[in-house]
């Protein structure tokens, strides 16, 4: 089992959610985060003082899935979220040891 974390532009989220639903991926957990990578800074002003904004609002999606689904999900994310510009985001994959569905106590694949 793997956990895919995708950090994406908020404006792509609705489209990605719909695309994932089409390939049968419904379960996910979503976070409001701030992030920075190569994306350039915007400026902000307070009483004449300049401040640079170097953390941008991003959405992080977390999807736990079977090993074999990983490729498919990643390719959907790339398809929808890639504009080619800096700030498109990143995908990370992590190992998961155990999954339990609370409502049924099912474990492993059955719990997905």
């Amino acid at each position: 089992m793997k956990k895919i974390e995708a950090i994406i532009r908020p404006t792509k989220f609705e489209e990605l959610k719909a695309a994932l639903e089409k390939i049968g991926v419904r379960g996910m957990t979503v976070y409001d985060v701030r992030g920075r990578g190569l994306q350039g800074a915007e400026k902000q002003y307070y009483r004449g003082q300049e401040h640079s904004i170097d953390l941008f609002p991003k959405i992080k999606l977390e999807i736990v899935c079977q090993d074999e689904s990983v490729e498919n999900i990643i390719s959907q994310i790339l398809k929808i979220c890639k504009s080619g510009k800096k700030g498109d985001g990143k995908i990370f994959v992590y190992p998961v040891e155990r999954i339990i569905r609370i409502s049924t106590r099912e474990e492993g694949g059955a719990a997905l």
Partner: protein
């Protein structure tokens, strides 16, 4: 720098010369000022003034959080810009001595001569300066209303230019046509107690033209784009309701029975409009929404505005019953049918509601309520409905054409819309360099 100094010198000269005019010279032989009426209209001016911040919140709560300051700033900027324009030239264009039934002359340029003496043409018992500031507040909110139609996408410098051009070229003449002594619509006998035509039809229609001209928001159609702060919108609606008492009751220009009557029917129509809108959506999709309540409330206020001094309480109930579902239909069906992106429904509520109100006034007006008014269709005078129709058509045609021309001209000089990237980031950061909220522990800004 040099030109700036010239400016200042010029203004100093003005500062010297203007008060030289006998602003208060005639104080002794002025017509009798009534302190009650004066107190009333001064306070009403303040009440109408608070409507525009109310509108800023009403609109601001409906946009996404990245655009809230940009939206609020449009209303606030309108307040400042029109305040100056009105003092310099707007008031005299609207209410100066008539030229060709179309516009006022420049007799009160820079408010010279507008002092404590009443101007009996408009209000015999209050200082003219009070009348002028009361009217100013109407000019402010009108142009601010338009901003709801093109919210979330206009560049701020363009907005400034638009406000100045529109208030001068559309509002001031229209106010003169309808309210100015010898204005052609006034001469025709068009009824507009507190600005249904001048304020709501003009702004709503101009909003429609503007949102068509600018085009849809780029994210529209895919994203849900839900209001970011509905309690803010409710507060804004409450301030609108509150200030509208000054708007409508104050339009009696005195603390009298007519003002009391206008207050009563204004409140009634607002209440019924809120209920009938909520009722319509309850029937339609099963939920009575808070935003629907606020929208219906405003629709009711819009509808009663031209009628407040002319119709009975029962008529105000009737108007409220109709205007709620009517405007609900406009924003929920008409808009998606025709596919224009009237972001916050300035047209759907002020345009549609305003047109309805103007025509309903032609039907329901009665001299039993106001002997100085006229009877409408239902009281045996079908002619009045025709007059109202002419006024509506004239206002629609004029506002639409002028707005189109103004935007066209502006678009020759610069792009009206923010860029696609800016739309993604939002008005607040891109136009104003600010972030509305810092609720997170993480400060995204860095020293």
């Amino acid at each position: 720098m040099k030109t700036k100094f010239k400016w200042i010198t010029l203004l100093i000269t003005l500062a010297i010369s203007v008060p030289g005019l006998p602003v208060m010279a005639a104080a002794a032989d002025a017509p009798a000022i009534d302190t009650g009426d004066t107190a009333f209209i001064i306070v009403c001016a303040a009440l109408v003034m608070i409507m525009t911040p109310g509108l800023a919140l009403f609109y601001g709560g409906m946009v996404r959080k990245k655009n809230v300051l940009g939206t609020i700033m449009q209303s606030f900027a309108a307040m400042a810009l029109v305040s100056v324009q009105w003092v310099l030239i707007g008031y005299t264009l609207g209410f100066g001595t008539d030229i060709g039934h179309l516009i006022g002359n420049l007799q009160w340029l820079g408010m010279s001569g507008v002092g404590i003496d009443p101007n009996p043409d408009y209000s015999a018992t209050i200082p003219q300066s009070v009348f002028a500031v009361f009217q100013l507040m109407f000019a402010i909110i009108t142009v601010a209303l338009i901003s709801g139609s093109f919210a979330e996408r206009m560049r701020f410098p363009i907005f400034i230019a638009f406000v100045l051009l529109w208030t001068t070229l559309v509002y001031d003449p229209l106010a003169h046509w309808v309210w100015g002594v010898n204005g052609w619509l006034r001469n025709l006998g068009a009824l507009d107690f507190a600005g249904g035509t001048v304020v709501h039809i003009s702004s709503g229609v101009s909003g429609l033209v503007a949102c068509l001209f600018l085009g849809r928001r780029r994210e529209e159609g895919f994203d849900a784009m839900m209001p970011h702060n509905l309690p803010m919108t409710m507060l804004g609606a409450a301030l609108l309701w509150f200030g509208w008492f000054g708007f409508n009751a104050g339009s009696a220009l005195g603390a009298n029975g007519l003002a009391g009557h206008a207050f009563l029917v204004t409140n009634t129509c607002a209440a019924v409009g809120a209920l009938s809108w909520v009722g319509a959506e309850w029937l339609h999709h099963g939920k009575p929404t808070a935003l629907g309540f606020a929208s219906g409330l405003v629709a009711g206020l819009v509808a009663i505005t031209p009628a407040a001094g002319f119709v009975s309480p029962a008529s105000s109930i009737l108007m409220g019953i109709i205007v709620g579902p009517l405007c609900y239909y406009a924003v929920s069906h008409l808009k998606s049918k025709f596919g224009y992106d009237d972001t916050l429904d300035a047209f759907g509520i002020h345009g549609v509601g305003g047109i309805f109100g103007a025509l309903a006034t032609g039907v329901l007006a009665t001299t039993a309520v106001n002997p100085a008014g006229v009877d409408g269709l239902l009281f045996g005078n079908p002619h009045q409905l025709l007059v109202q129709l002419i006024a509506v058509v004239a206002a629609v045609a004029f506002a639409a054409t002028a707005t189109f021309v103004i935007l066209n001209v502006l678009s020759m000089f610069a792009s009206l819309r923010i860029s696609e990237d800016a739309e993604e980031i939002g008005l607040d950061i891109t136009q104003h360099g600010e972030d509305a909220y810092s609720y997170m522990e993480i400060s995204s800004a860095q020293r």
